[in-house]
């Protein structure tokens, strides 16, 4: 069994190597090879899962050290894997959704010349992400963390001939770098405190370190999570990341990579539990982002950007839950898994719509597509019902639990967090209904594309619809399956721990309140976009709408504060460099130059003046000798 863990990571890594180095002869078979290796990885994951189910709750964790990576004196950094229920959940999500999206990409990228490279990058991403969740120490986790960042960069900029895609890739990379800095500082702090990178001693002995130090580590980990999971204040890259091909948005920027921050916080739970101040920061970030993303999602007309806002908001829920400590860890992961299903399904649906509409992304130019794309309509619709939390579907169970947990935090904090989560649920219902109505209902608002060709919407090929159907099944049933008898809670509890909070309101009240806000959100969206015809060009909108269209001015803020500030800083540094540093250097050079200019005059070329200096020198020598004699 231990060897299978290594193979799990190795299969997609092998695929990446073969596809990226294989050359043109793999152009035709490459996509299927990549898909096959992803599926192999998933199969191995299922085998390991079956094996794990056969053991008791406490003995399920599997540890394997593959090789010593950096053995230098007392310093040890090993490549080792730790497979417990938490990483198992991620492995199944990553390889399962990953395989489906590989399959979808076979159809979606069929006409792209560079699809071999695309599948190579996708496999590279799978390998890095598996390394991230399977690592048994922070250093190896960091390798995976950087690996998924690299894959994300390569895939966002996959259509690099478009300047917007190239810029978006650079932006994602740079913003992530800020977060990665946080992770590397956290790892260094952990190493200086505990003398090791491994999870086991660090997390079991976490409370030995002082609270101040743990708070510092936890805040740095939070920074890392903010970067990778697009949380405020490092959220600005996710909207632009939609420049990448849609399967990438579905896999990396919705289902898996952006949830790495939630994994990091849950995995480092012991550190956060011992640092209450940092936990407050985590829940604040989560609550702010879940509203921020939801508001942005309401104003976007680009279907993928609306979904990106929604992703940001849903991950805000997860971060919020993870910040609640043992009350919320399980529900954060549960929402992460159900979100992986329905958001990946929604993105694949969006890709399918774009596929049929000549790559149009503006929802105001869709309309009435439900009869033309029945499969897409049904699967997207089920994903929609799941995300807004329609009773009985996945999102209902997982989101409801998070809202309950937020109230259970207790005190004023609990009311604020619970209120924010409820408000978020209302806005979620609003913007998702808006997406649904604009795309599939109403009259046709199709416009000719750049070449003047009218779109002919049609259902996508089988390779694309099958993954959508499978994900739709997940969106419908996953939450229910997890919640019957608290299956998911019992599954994860040995790793993350769990405690019931003391909620000031009963679970039934919370569910009822969620239903009420859900109906209100849907009703408002219906009144605005269902009853009235929708204009093809967006109206000017209120001040808030315009701000939300510009991502709530996040780029403007970054530009004014960071870019301008940075420019001013560099300019003043250049000034200091020119005037002070260069001044000293140039001054030295000028004085030496001036002195030698005077000295040069001694060399005038007249023999007699040299003779004078000779005689003068001789005279001085004689005088000195005589003087010494006399003394």
């Amino acid at each position: 069994m231990e060897n299978l863990i290594g193979l799990l990571v190795l299969a997609p890594l092998l695929g990446a190597g073969v596809l990226l180095c294989g050359g043109r002869r793999l152009d035709r078979s490459g996509p299927w090879l990549g898909t096959l290796l992803a599926a192999v990885s998933f199969a191995l994951g299922v085998v390991l899962f079956a094996d794990m189910l056969g053991k008791g709750g406490e003995e399920r964790a599997l540890d394997v050290t593959v090789f010593q990576w950096v053995p230098v004196g007392g310093f040890r950094a090993d490549v080792g894997f730790h497979l417990d229920q938490l990483s198992m959940t991620f492995v199944l999500l990553i390889t399962g959704v990953g395989s489906l999206i590989h399959l979808y990409s076979v159809g979606y990228m069929a006409h792209d010349e560079r699809k071999r490279r695309f599948f190579g990058y996708l496999n590279l991403f799978l390998a890095a992400m598996l390394l991230l969740v399977l690592a048994d120490n922070y250093l190896l986790l960091y390798v995976g963390w950087e690996g998924v960042g690299l894959a994300s960069y390569l895939l966002i900029g996959f259509w690099q001939h478009k300047p917007s895609a190239a810029t978006a890739a650079k932006k994602a990379f740079l913003v992530n770098r800020v977060g990665d800095m946080g992770l590397s500082i956290a790892i260094m702090l952990l190493f200086t405190t505990f003398g090791t990178f491994a999870f086991d001693p660090v997390l079991t002995r976490a409370t030995d370190a002082g609270e101040g130090k743990l708070t510092a580590v936890a805040l740095m980990l939070l920074l890392a999570a903010c970067g990778k999971s697009a949380q405020v204040p490092l959220q600005s890259w996710l909207g632009d990341a939609m420049e990448g091909p849609t399967p990438v948005s579905a896999l990396i920027h919705a289902a898996t990579m952006v949830t790495a921050g939630v994994y990091l916080i849950t995995r480092s739970g012991a550190v956060f539990d011992a640092a209450p101040d940092a936990q407050t920061a985590v829940v604040t970030v989560g609550a702010v982002t879940l509203l921020f993303g939801a508001i942005v999602g309401c104003a976007k007309d680009d279907i993928k950007k609306a979904l990106a806002g929604s992703t940001m908001s849903q991950i805000g829920y997860m971060i919020l839950a993870a910040g609640l400590g043992p009350i919320g860890y399980v529900f954060a992961i549960m929402h992460l898994v159900t979100h992986g299903f329905f958001k990946a399904g929604l993105f694949l649906g969006a890709g399918s719509v774009m596929h049929g509409m000549n790559d149009e992304v503006d929802m105001r130019r869709y309309g009435g597509l439900r009869t033309y794309m029945p499969v897409t309509f049904v699967t997207f619709g089920l994903g929609y019902l799941a995300i807004i939390g329609f009773p009985g579907l996945s999102g209902f169970f997982s989101k409801d639990k998070i809202i309950e947990a937020a109230f259970a935090k207790g005190g004023t904090e609990g009311w604020i967090l619970g209120g924010a989560a409820l408000l978020g649920a209302a806005i979620t219902a609003y913007y998702m209904t808006r997406v649904m109505l604009l795309t599939f209902f109403g009259e046709k608002r199709w416009q000719p594309d750049a070449e003047g060709e009218m779109p002919h919407p049609h259902e996508s090929p089988r390779t694309m619809t099958v993954p959508m159907i499978v994900l739709a099944f997940g969106s419908v049933f996953a939450g229910g399956l997890f919640s019957i008898n608290d299956t998911f809670l019992k599954w994860l509890e040995p790793v993350t721990g769990h405690e019931e909070g003391h909620s000031p309101v009963s679970a039934l009240t919370v569910t009822a309140a969620t239903m009420v806000v859900l109906v209100i959100g849907v009703a408002i969206a219906w009144a605005q976009y269902g009853r009235r015809p929708v204009p093809v060009t967006a109206p000017r909108g209120s001040l808030l709408t315009r701000a939300a269209r510009r991502d709530l001015l996040q780029d403007d803020f970054n530009h004014v504060v960071l870019v301008r500030g940075g420019e001013h800083l560099t300019r003043s540094l250049v000034y200091v460099d020119h005037s002070l540093v260069d001044g000293v250097v140039n001054g030295t050079a000028a004085s030496v130059g001036g002195l030698s200019g005077r000295m040069r005059k001694l060399q005038n070329g007249y023999a007699r003046s040299y003779a004078v200096s000779m005689f003068g020198g001789a005279a001085v020598l004689i005088a000195a000798t005589l003087l010494m004699r006399a003394v």
Binding site: G605, Y606, A607, R608, A611, V612, F615
Partner: protein, 99 residues
């Protein structure tokens, strides 16, 4: 006669020679002044030999004369060559290392 007077004469001749080297521009004259300084030294050496009653000073005077003769041969050859190419024996004109 007091041998010290010879030393005064030698000092006088040396000074005249040195002044000539510093002041004059004609290479031949400078050359003659150099000879004058050398011979002033010779005179001083011989005088010291007489004063000390040994032959050391006289031997050194011989060396000086041999070196001076060799120097005259080389120096005059250079001066004549310079004069041939420049039609002047002024040391100021020969300020460059090339002809």
């Amino acid at each position: 006669m007091n041998p010290v007077n010879y030393l005064y004469l030698a000092a006088l001749l040396f000074t005249i020679g040195a002044a000539g080297v510093l002041i004059r521009r004609n290479a031949i004259v400078i050359f003659m002044c150099v000879e004058l300084m050398l011979n002033a030294c010779n005179l001083a050496f011989v005088t010291f030999a007489r004063l000390h009653g040994n032959l050391d000073g006289q031997i050194i005077a011989f060396f000086t004369m041999v070196v001076a003769a060799a120097e005259v041969v080389v120096g005059l050859a250079i001066i004549v060559t310079i004069f041939r190419s420049r039609h002047s024996a002024s040391v100021d004109d020969a300020g460059l290392l090339k002809l």
